[in-house]
């Protein structure tokens, strides 16, 4: 992800059990005090941790999507030959087909056989992507599955399912949200969630008021 990435410490956590458990006690004591002072609510902490665990950050796929939103010529190349177009941005190692969401058409990716997934672009697949339930139901009843993900598409929208394989991976190009004129490529990339590139969500709307 980045050469500035500091991963010191991970090894420590595994080798020295004792200091870790002292730290764990320190954190529990702190949480206990903060909850008592009503400065923190434990369920809010739970929600935040899971939201960030699902966030895959400034990932490569989001950069690809943002570039396509900003540069129509790049988008054309991306849809015509995904593999070559992502190589332009320095990403590779995967044969990729990009499928575009537009008005009336929504795309959704599944791997019915196993869990083929464009890691290079969007990191590790989430647990549900690998589940038998998603793999079987995405094809059989995609509209219901999408509703369970919180995406209620009108009946008039056609849903296209793309079944990944070891030879070819798919990436959904979500629709650019309204009200994003003037945003930079980096800001646009921040709206592109992992789920929107699998096709079980749409891109996030821009924040109502920039900080």
């Amino acid at each position: 992800m980045s050469d500035t990435h500091h991963d010191h410490g991970h090894e420590h956590g595994h080798h020295h059990r004792e200091p870790e458990s002292v730290l764990s006690l320190r954190v529990r004591a702190l949480e206990s005090l903060l909850v008592e002072k009503k400065l923190v609510a434990s369920d809010a902490v739970d929600r935040i941790v899971s939201a960030y665990e699902e966030d895959i950050g400034p990932h490569n796929g989001a950069k690809v999507v943002a570039r396509a939103w900003l540069d129509p010529a790049y988008k054309q190349r991306l849809l015509a030959d995904g593999t070559a177009a992502i190589e332009e941005l320095g990403f590779g190692g995967v044969d990729l087909k990009v499928v575009e969401n537009r008005s009336g058409v929504h795309n959704m990716v599944v791997c019915t056989l196993c869990s083929c997934y464009p890691h290079a672009l969007i990191g590790l697949p989430p647990v549900w992507y690998k589940s038998f339930e998603y793999r079987s139901r995405a094809v059989r009843e995609p509209r219901v599955v999408l509703r369970e993900f919180g995406l209620d598409l009108p009946e008039s929208v056609e849903i296209r399912i793309w079944d990944s394989s070891a030879e070819l991976r798919y990436l959904v190009l979500p629709e650019r949200p309204a009200g994003t004129e003037g945003l930079s490529e980096g800001e646009l990339a921040g709206l592109v969630s992992r789920d929107s590139m699998i096709g079980v969500a749409v891109a996030r709307p821009p924040a109502p008021a920039a900080r």
Binding site: G9, V35, V40, I48, Y52, L124
Partner: protein, 112 residues
């Protein structure tokens, strides 16, 4: 909503950058997630600004590197968070030390 990740937090750069693996945040131990979540929650509730915490974290990391400490990213995070809470007058260090002793000796064992 406090459940949409803030890019200011998720995309911190440099030494303060969150540890990730294959792009996903890594919490090796449950306490690392707790301390992360508490810090983010308090910044959302405006107990402090995120940039204030980030500055404290960067200072703590620089200090640890200078001293050659082999502490982990989230241990440094915890130190920075406690320091900020003390500076803001939100948590009295003596009270925290006492509460920590209670947990260490098993006199207290709250379940979250």
């Amino acid at each position: 909503m406090d459940t949409v990740p803030s890019r200011e937090i998720a995309d911190m750069k440099g030494a303060a950058a969150l540890p990730r693996k294959n792009g996903e945040l890594v919490f090796d131990e449950a306490w690392q997630g707790r301390i992360f979540g508490m810090t983010v929650a308090m910044s959302h509730d405006a107990s402090f600004e995120w940039r204030e915490f980030q500055a404290q974290l960067i200072a703590e990391i620089a200090h640890a590197e200078r001293e050659g400490e082999s502490t982990s990213y989230y241990e440094r995070w915890l130190n920075a968070f406690e320091q900020l809470l003390a500076d803001k007058g939100l948590v009295d260090p003596a009270a925290l030390a006492e509460r920590t002793r209670e947990f260490e000796t098993g006199r207290r064992d709250d379940v979250f």
